[in-house]
């Protein structure tokens, strides 16, 4: 089996498992909707204020919903003992990283697919445009990549679920700032070229984080 097929096998396993239990994506989704509503109540979002705040609220919601899915995804491997099977399989540890990261990315994208129209309606902003989708994709990819690495660490600590956001959010600062600014720029009528520096930053973050995570993920899994 070549690299891509091995990665695909792990992704398919996660997707099928999730399709049967539906516990992670449904929890993320319900949380995301609730968070959006809570923001609307807490900040009394109407009219122009809502339009200005929309990208920030969208990304805070995505980030927090993401941590739910990320910690579940790795905890499930451990509880089911599946991680031992993965470690015994004759393949490089970076395959496991890519498999898990892409699986997490898929789950986050599924949540975003539902969340974007909701935010577009609630806050009256044109979120469903190609530029925004590109930014969402790039930002989510970087977040899922570093989140997968750190979730691998967090599930092995005493605090477990509590640990992941503490580790993840300070390192996700570039993703959050760049994504929120890029989406804001696009909503204010800018083109992709206008937010080019933010997109460049997201691409740089994705590349750096994926390469570094690939190199060190093996040390996280070592037993």
């Amino acid at each position: 089996m070549n690299f891509v097929r091995k990665v695909w096998a792990i992704v398919a396993k996660d997707v099928v498992a999730e399709f049967h239990s539906r516990e992670v994506v449904s929890a993320m989704l319900v949380f995301a909707v609730l968070a959006t509503l809570v923001f609307s109540f807490a900040l009394d979002l109407r009219g122009d204020v809502a339009r200005v705040a929309a990208p920030g609220i969208l990304w805070v919601t995505v980030a927090f919903a993401g941590t739910l899915g990320l910690s579940r995804s790795l905890a499930r491997e451990q509880q089911s003992g599946c991680i031992d099977g993965l470690l015994l399989a004759p393949m490089d540890r970076s395959v496991i990283f890519f498999g898990k990261a892409i699986g997490n990315l898929v789950f986050m994208v599924v949540v975003e697919v539902m969340l974007l129209p909701l935010c577009a309606v609630l806050f009256d902003v044109p979120l469903l445009q190609a530029g925004v989708l590109i930014v969402m994709g790039l930002g989510t990819a970087g977040y899922a990549a570093i989140g997968t690495l750190l979730a691998g660490i967090a599930v092995n600590t005493r605090a477990r679920e509590v640990m992941l956001p503490v580790l993840l959010l300070p390192l996700a600062v570039p993703v959050l700032i760049a994504s929120v600014r890029a989406v804001s720029g696009l909503l204010e009528g800018g083109t992709l070229a206008d937010v080019g520096s933010w997109i460049g930053l997201l691409v740089a973050y994705d590349v750096i984080v994926v390469v570094v995570s690939m190199l060190v993920f093996g040390y996280v899994l070592e037993e």
Binding site: L149, N156, T157, R158, L169, P170, I177, L201, V209, Y219
Partner: protein
């Protein structure tokens, strides 16, 4: 080993104390009074020096993490954790002195000035690093996880810096707009001495902290031997 270590360690402590005293003297006597901000600007020398040590300490943690993962052993982990701990202290000093400086100059304790913001983000990264270490009991695994986190965290610092700087330049802050201090030669000398003094202090602290770690290990080992003795 212990005797020789004590001598070098003592020398480092005494010389860093002397250097800090010299820096203090220069800050309050040699350096001129800043024309616009007045005496409060004198906090700048320790503020910049602690920021430098804070970021340098994290760089050391990064290098020691690589060293540990490359098979360097326990000693590298001691250096990494000690350096992160010292870095936390200094970056906290940076943020606090920054806030104290901001109050009289800009009228608020906190502004989202990029350098201050990235220091605050680094502070949180250090705290997360410390919490990670505390919540993993098994020493080998703790060292491994901490090394990975130290590496990933350091790699994202430049990206955070660009993100925060661009974020601010898009929303220009009137308070900080056009504030660039012009530095006289005497100010530059004072700053250089402060930087050197704090670097020396960092090395002295790191040495003591690593030594403490080693003594702790030795104590744990002796204790485990003692407990196994038939009584």
């Amino acid at each position: 080993m212990a005797k020789k270590g004590d001598f070098v360690g003592l020398f480092l402590i005494l010389s860093s104390a002397a250097a800090i005293l010299l820096a203090l003297t220069m800050i309050f006597i040699y350096a001129p009074r800043e024309a616009v901000m007045g005496d409060v600007q004198r906090i700048f020398y320790f503020h910049v020096a602690s920021a430098w040590v804070g970021f340098f300490a994290f760089f050391v943690t990064f290098l020691a993490g690589i060293g540990y993962l490359a098979g360097g052993g326990r000693r590298w982990d001691s250096v990494a954790s000690s350096s992160a701990e010292i870095g936390l202290t200094f970056i906290a000093m940076t943020v606090i002195t920054g806030a104290l400086w901001a109050r009289p100059v800009w009228g608020v304790y906190w502004t989202w000035e990029p350098r201050l913001t990235i220091s605050a983000v680094q502070l949180l990264v250090y705290v997360a690093y410390g919490m990670l270490r505390v919540s993993v009991e098994e020493p080998e695994r703790r060292a491994r996880f901490a090394a990975v986190y130290g590496i990933v965290a350091f790699v994202t610092v430049p990206l955070s810096w660009f993100a925060i700087r661009w974020w601010r330049s898009i929303h220009p802050d009137i308070l900080t707009g056009g504030e660039e201090m012009s530095i006289t030669p005497r100010m530059a000398h004072t700053l250089l001495v402060s930087l050197a003094a704090f670097t020396l202090l960092y090395v002295a602290l790191l040495r003591q902290r690593v030594r403490l770690e080693r003594l702790g290990d030795a104590l744990a080992y002796l204790r485990s031997r003692f407990e196994r003795l038939p009584r």
